[in-house]
């Protein structure tokens, strides 16, 4: 209990739309330990991104408890690193400028850490490139390095590899695991990709829509590095998939009022 870094309890979120209120999140409860890698999977509209934005402090107006290190979330901050689906780099800054962002590269400490991170995300030689010269995968690595420079307590990733091709994606998954094992950063990783969820997560949180709620939380007891082709991996993948198939029918019952 004491090692919990993130505690979410009885979290509810409602959006107001012209035709009335839509429940986006219903009674979410989740405890995340320090250094844990959690993946959150669910179909679109299940509120997984909303959940992440609430933890980031980017979305307010919820009810319930969200505690990071025992403290209520008060707006966005560097403790909660956020990787968006698109890299969101500053186009007028070079790669190293983007990583440093509002910190000065003239500060030797920042300079040293930036160089280390460029090494870590495998971007050596591209320090002086502008975002327009980078591929999608490279740009996303810059945004990961940018978040890591701030030593976040938790890294929140909102489908970060969703827009990338399969090769780049699996490469970046390995880069991310590498970072996680080196830095012991707590990860909250939202995805709609079954393989990705099972490949990365120590626990997979399965969410379902209307209203967005947690269907189940499955531990993935496989050692890293995992093999996608292994039978144990495939078995767990099927377990997760089963969770979705179970809930297809009652969808309309709950969402009928919308």
């Amino acid at each position: 209990m004491a090692t919990e870094m993130l505690t979410i309890d009885n979290l509810n979120k409602t959006f107001a739309v012209p035709s009335g209120d839509v429940v986006a999140l219903h009674n979410i409860g989740l405890k995340v330990k320090k250094g844990e890698f959690i993946t959150i999977i669910g179909p679109s509209g299940c509120g997984k991104s909303t959940l992440l934005k609430i933890v980031a402090g980017l979305d307010t107006g919820y009810s319930g408890t969200v505690l990071l290190n025992g403290k209520e979330i008060e707006g966005p901050s560097i403790e909660k690193g956020f990787i968006f689906q698109e890299p969101r780099l500053f186009p007028w800054m070079t790669v190293e400028g983007n990583i440093a962002a509002n910190l000065s590269l003239k500060n030797p400490e920042v300079r040293k850490k930036v160089d280390e991170l460029i090494e870590l995300v495998r971007l050596k030689g591209f320090e002086k490139s502008y975002p327009r010269e980078l591929s999608g995968g490279m740009a996303q690595r810059v945004s990961i390095a940018r978040a890591l420079l701030r030593n976040p307590d938790v890294l929140l990733l909102d489908e970060p590899f969703g827009a990338l091709d399969a090769f780049t994606r699996s490469h970046l998954q390995e880069v991310l695991l590498d970072i996680w094992q080196t830095n012991k950063t707590t990860m909250l990783f939202v995805t709609h990709d079954l393989d990705e969820a099972v490949f990365l997560g120590e626990r997979v949180v399965i969410m379902n829509p209307r209203p967005g709620h947690i269907r189940n939380i499955l531990p993935i007891d496989l050692p890293f590095p995992r093999k996608r082709t292994g039978s144990a991996f495939q078995e767990l993948r099927r377990l997760v998939l089963n969770e979705f198939e179970k809930v297809e029918e009652p969808l309309f019952e709950i969402g009928a009022g919308i």
Partner: protein
Amino acid sequence: MSEQAVGTNKGHDRDWLSRIPKGIHGWLVPLAIVAVWEAAAALDLISAATLPAPSIIIGQFFSLIASGELFEHLGISAYRAGLGFLLGAAAGLLLGLSTGLGKLAERTLDPSLQMLRTIPLLSLIPLFILWFGVGEFSKILMIGLGAFFPVYVNTFLGIRNVDSKLIEVSRIFQYSRWQLLGKMIIPAALPNILLGLRLSLGVAWLVLVVAEMMGTSAGVGYMIQDARAYSQTDKVFVGISIFAIVGKLSDSAVRLLEKRWLRWRDTFKG
């Protein structure tokens, strides 16, 4: 460079343009016009009082330089345009930043400024003369007012075009107010701000000429007006050419800044 190689290898009549260095391409049409013009003047096809030959205009140009008259006029003109432009552009930048950044400033200031903007500037000349006379103050104020609006409008536009997704990133990184302004909003709005400056320089020149034609005893505009009174068409042409040259130079200066500061842009280059 590769085009040149192609040109020397096989093209002769179709690719004649590629044999001429690229930097000269823009000069081809003006040079052709000047050549025809000079020839027409030499053949007495046009009267020297209406359209003096280029050689005569160039001669006048050098004699005006030699007598020091040209630089005297140019100096005072540059002073007026420069000071007016600086004042107007600085005010435009400051007010554009405030209305762009603050909802309160936008609601209170912008409607009035937009109303003032629709008044044709030149219609204010009589009022300015009544209030401030025909002295330097009223001229510089006119130029400043003309230079103000392009910078104001474009600064505002540039700020409102900043990607809110990037602002979200700056919130996560806990940018201070100054960092938000200096490292986020101004760089993002810079393309628009520089465009505003370029447009504003053009307006500053335009208003300068009008201001210098309304009662003064120095300046390139006065020189033109004075030459007209004495039917010195060649001198009028020298004055017009000076405006063209200085206008082009100042525009190129801002474009150079664009090239340097907006290297990061990923836009269609034609």
